[in-house]
Symmetry: C2
Subunit: 638 residues, 2 copies
């Protein structure tokens, strides 16, 4: 038993060894007999043969009369044949053919007459009869082993007299959440409480893969209690996930527990996120130690457990689809690990653009937003911006073709636009990345977005946006589309306890500021305001503390960890903060000509002009609404 503590084994090698050991111990899909009616989507355990023929009797294929074909021989237009009532039986479609008959004459071809019927054409034996076994013959193989049962297969099985079928049993996976600070989901957690949602994520994933999840009660960080719960889960389930926290102390428990109950093959895999995974087992049952951060956990069970479930189910993993995409930002990776980087994808012109999402292993929203996964192999330093990389798709390519890519300045109204767009046309999706106004302009120059929200103040003349476009698009080729005027100001704790009256007060001792990132329009605004008022920004405590959205600045102030931050009224409003208005700025959309004619942008313009959008703005608050959707200026291509 090769046990190593905190190894850095390659993922591929670890997977192969783990699978081999488990199969050697007898890991294999169990089977069960179920009713065919409940078998849709299940996998057959063996070949299935028909018990009876379908149809199981000779039946009339028409409405008409059943006859003995011999009696009709010789009938023609000129020499009709007369049949007496005892020579035929009236049949409807589907009726059984009476004994002594071997053909059916259609009702349209019969002339009624006294004491019988008259016919003008012969029928050959078995004409107009659905013969026994036309569909399926008894003894015929209906389904192979390891075949997925479809709705029509259910019909074929029942028609073939098969009412029960032996299928692969769904593997049962036990999930054990552990940790003193873990609490069941609630809307009102206390500081330090960690909401247990990994179990719900994992169980939904398992369900999609054809497994059944059992979530056990949360176990505190106590060796004996964890051990007893793992023992119970091993008893009751086919596979076990031990969801340990990521702190060193807790991990040691997990590994130690598994070693006492069974064996540990590896503790530590060369992947990021997901390194502290534990590949354990008790005889043929995998016991997988999964790190506590959700993103790490998802990757570990996707990489290690999913293939085992497919092996159990005798299914090949649907071959992942790969696409080439151009990286919008550099990705730096450690040589030590195989790294999984979530990316958003979108077609801008003919190029598929991949924008890396947050790589924090606690950032579950990054997984939700991801359209693709970029894998950076072990031993690779990463990729530069602009490089073409291969990305595994997490969403069908057809959806990506209808994705409106917004990269630029943040405003909550973007989410509302995304929602209105998708409500109107369920084929269209919108993805927003918040990189600030300057980031949006640079992205448009690199042809990586369809729209960019911008609000850039020219401090020479107090105008917005136009002079920046002239500078960065000297050859034109973009439109500036009116969106909204929006109220910028200082967001302050409710009731303004520090009595802040203006930007001048920000340098006051003991006051904690929270800022936006460099390149954002709001950062440019506060820099400008400080400059005009002669304030040294390094005198402002927290000026280097950067957040990427108005909402997150507001969230910091609401939490009490900062006293003031520059931002828009709607964000302050959302968190019920005090707000000191400073100016109304113009928030516009920059749209490159190539993007203008896409259905996504044209529908967006429609939405911008709609009453529904205006109603959304009223609800958010703090917006001055002029003529959203109007082209303010078209900088024609020269």
């Amino acid at each position: 038993m090769a046990f190593q503590y905190l190894t850095n084994i390659s993922l591929k090698k670890a997977k192969i060894e783990y699978e081999n050991i488990l199969v050697g111990e007898g890991f294999a899909g169990k089977t069960e007999k179920i009713s065919v009616m409940d078998s849709c989507g299940r996998i057959t355990a063996h070949a299935v043969y028909a018990h009876i023929c379908a149809p199981h009797y000779h039946s009339s294929a028409m409405d008409g009369i059943a006859v003995d074909a011999k009696d009709t021989f010789g009938a023609t237009e000129t020499t009709p044949v007369h049949l007496k009532t005892n020579q035929y039986t009236v049949v409807d479609t589907g009726d059984a053919i009476p004994d002594g008959c071997d053909a059916v004459i259609m009702v349209e071809d019969i002339v009624q007459e006294e004491g019988g019927v008259c016919i003008y054409a012969a029928v050959s034996p078995w004409q107009n009869i659905r013969q026994i076994g036309e569909d399926i013959c008894a003894g015929e193989m209906i389904l192979n082993s390891y075949q997925k049962i479809t709705p029509s297969a259910i019909g074929a099985l029942i028609a073939g007299g098969v009412l029960e079928v032996e299928v692969i049993k769904c593997p049962v996976v036990g999930i054990i959440p552990t940790g003193d600070e873990i609490i069941p989901p609630t809307e009102d957690p206390k500081p330090g409480d960690i909401l247990e949602f990994n179990g719900s994520i994992f169980s939904a994933m398992l369900q999609e893969w054809g497994a059944k999840a059992v979530i056990y009660p949360i176990v505190p960080d106590c060796f004996d209690e964890i051990k007893s719960m793992v023992n119970r889960a091993v008893e009751e389930c086919d596979m076990v996930i031990l969801n340990a926290g990521s702190s060193a102390g807790r991990e040691d428990y997990s590994c130690q527990v598994i070693k006492e109950i069974g064996d540990v093959l590896y503790h530590g895999i060369a992947i990021k996120p997901g390194k502290p995974a534990i590949l354990g087992y008790q005889k043929e049952k995998p016991i997988l130690g999964v790190p506590g951060y959700p993103v790490s956990g998802i990757i570990v069970i996707e990489e290690i457990l999913h293939p085992l479930i497919d092996l159990w189910n005798h299914r090949k993993i649907a071959e992942p689809q790969y696409v080439d995409a151009v990286l919008s930002r550099a990705v730096v990776s450690s040589l030590k690990y195989h790294e999984f980087v979530r990316v958003r994808l979108g077609y801008v012109g003919k190029r598929l653009i991949a924008s890396p999402l947050s790589r924090g292993s606690g950032v579950i929203s990054s997984f939700m937003k991801a359209d693709g996964m970029l894998e950076v192999p072990q031993g690779t330093e990463g990729y530069e911006a602009g490089k073409t990389v291969t990305v595994r798709l997490l969403r069908p390519l057809s959806e990506l073709k209808k994705m409106l890519v917004a990269i630029g300045s943040h405003d909550p109204l973007l989410d509302e636009l995304a929602d209105l767009l998708h409500r109107k046309n369920q084929e269209i999706y919108m993805s927003s990345s918040h990189v600030g106004s300057m980031g949006g302009i640079m992205s448009a120059r690199r042809k990586e977005n369809h729209i960019a929200g911008i609000h850039l103040l020219d401090d020479k003349n107090g105008t917005y946006n136009v002079s920046f476009i002239k500078k960065y698009f000297p050859h034109g080729g973009v439109r500036l589309v009116e969106c909204v005027g929006r109220m910028q100001g200082l967001m302050l704790a409710p009731g303004n306890p520090l009595q802040i009256q203006g930007v001048e007060d920000l340098q006051r001792k003991g006051l904690r500021y929270v800022n936006r990132q460099k390149g954002s329009g709001t950062r440019i605004l506060i820099d400008y305001l400080c400059k005009t008022k002669g304030i040294q920004t390094n005198e402002i405590y927290g000026y280097e503390r950067e957040e990427f959205t108005h909402t997150s600045v507001a969230a910091q102030i609401e939490s009490g960890s900062a006293d003031a931050g520059m931002g828009i009224y709607s964000a302050a409003n959302l968190y019920s903060l005090d707000f000191l208005p400073i100016c109304i700025e113009q928030y516009d959309l920059l749209i490159p000509d190539e993007a203008w004619d896409t259905p996504m942008v044209q529908q967006l313009i429609e939405i911008l002009k709609s009453d529904e959008f205006k109603a959304c703005l009223e609800k958010l608050g703090g917006y001055k609404i002029g003529n959203p959707g109007e082209v303010r200026e078209w900088f024609r291509s020269v």
Copy 2:
């Protein structure tokens, strides 16, 4: 209200009008609130916003000590800073940051000393802290309206304090089977009984589309009972399928019932199969009259009901994938209807070959076997063999690339080979079409198959197969691979009540023969035997009654509708028939050179040589096993 009796309205027009009328009456997806934990795969009814931030408190991103960053300012390698125990708090990863602290120093960067710790580097405010809202900010939109909830979205929702979510309610579809002759599934039906399996097929389809089915008890052909059941279903469900039989009488009931309860838009659509469909409704609830034959029913509910369910669920139907394929046989279609033809698909070389399946609307197995759907528009006469047609895929293209295409003579051992292949490698599928030995040779000449089972007797010299290959492949390019010797003979009713002693007896008066189709090796054999014995085949009653497989010939004899048929021992054995051996013939596989090197054929050869295959043959019975899988002769390309 435009009601027309047995119209022939175009499918497209009917669909649009039906949808418009229903939407006008208020047809729309209902919503319901459910627990987020149970929401995987469901569709949001509205945009969903976070209630709390995630993380919801400032937490340590490291194991270490929480400090006030200001206390560390100035610390360097040469000017360390000493912190007293009251200046810091020990924290683990995930712990809440205590009041008064705004940074964390990693445990690795701390030197313990008497009364406190010593540090050699300053930390900036908020360093090593996961700030509130790093993942999700309260008030942020987590999901759009009409968005499918994924496992990671479940995590994001719970992290955002959302425990309940309003989703589109699965529409409930009531299915009412009707008909005096309809009985619940059983293994032992009597002649005339029709097994009710449409309900099971439809309910599995509905489940795949995101609807819930309720199957009502079978209703006899009685107007009042049908009416009362439809009333009940309309009350209890969102949509109703009235599964009438296809005989005129029953259909009239359905249409009449719907007209009394609500309205009928059309009765009769220009599609085949599926023409007698009834597009009815009661206010906003569709009541669809569906023909009784399973294939017709599947097509009607796929074409008419599926789009309505997607409309309800605010989902666009996943865009069907179309491929170009070469038609292996002609398809003749009526100008009057838009026809749906099921086809098998397989890549032979680089060409995708489409082979039409049985078009009988009662042949449910044709739907189960179908890889694609060829639609022949109204007003088109059909397509010639060899024509390139566009086919809608019913199975992923990747699976088709691993499909072994067998077209040739029938033998039950082919099904066993298919099963052994798929058991061994779940990526490989095998599809068999039974067109007889000559059909197989012609198919190979047209490069439409990978293998062809053949057993062709050269009546000049009594040898098998070789002279035919020399004749039809004068330029070579094929291998003849040994399969089995198999016993051919006359299959007879158990106990041989008519005392049939040989082929000579077949012309006896009162004896009913059942034959194989022209071009099959078995037909050639019986033709040859009759010729050598001077028997006129038109003297044999039923000689023109053709079946396509050994099994179906056996099934006819077992049912008592024929007294004798030529076939192989294993088929007689399957039906416990008497068997009069006549000769042992060589059943071989013809494999074109282009197919030889494919992984499918190479695995097949391995299987042919395996002990498992020999065991299967023993079980089937009547085979002489030599060296299956050995190349008997390679006709090299010249």
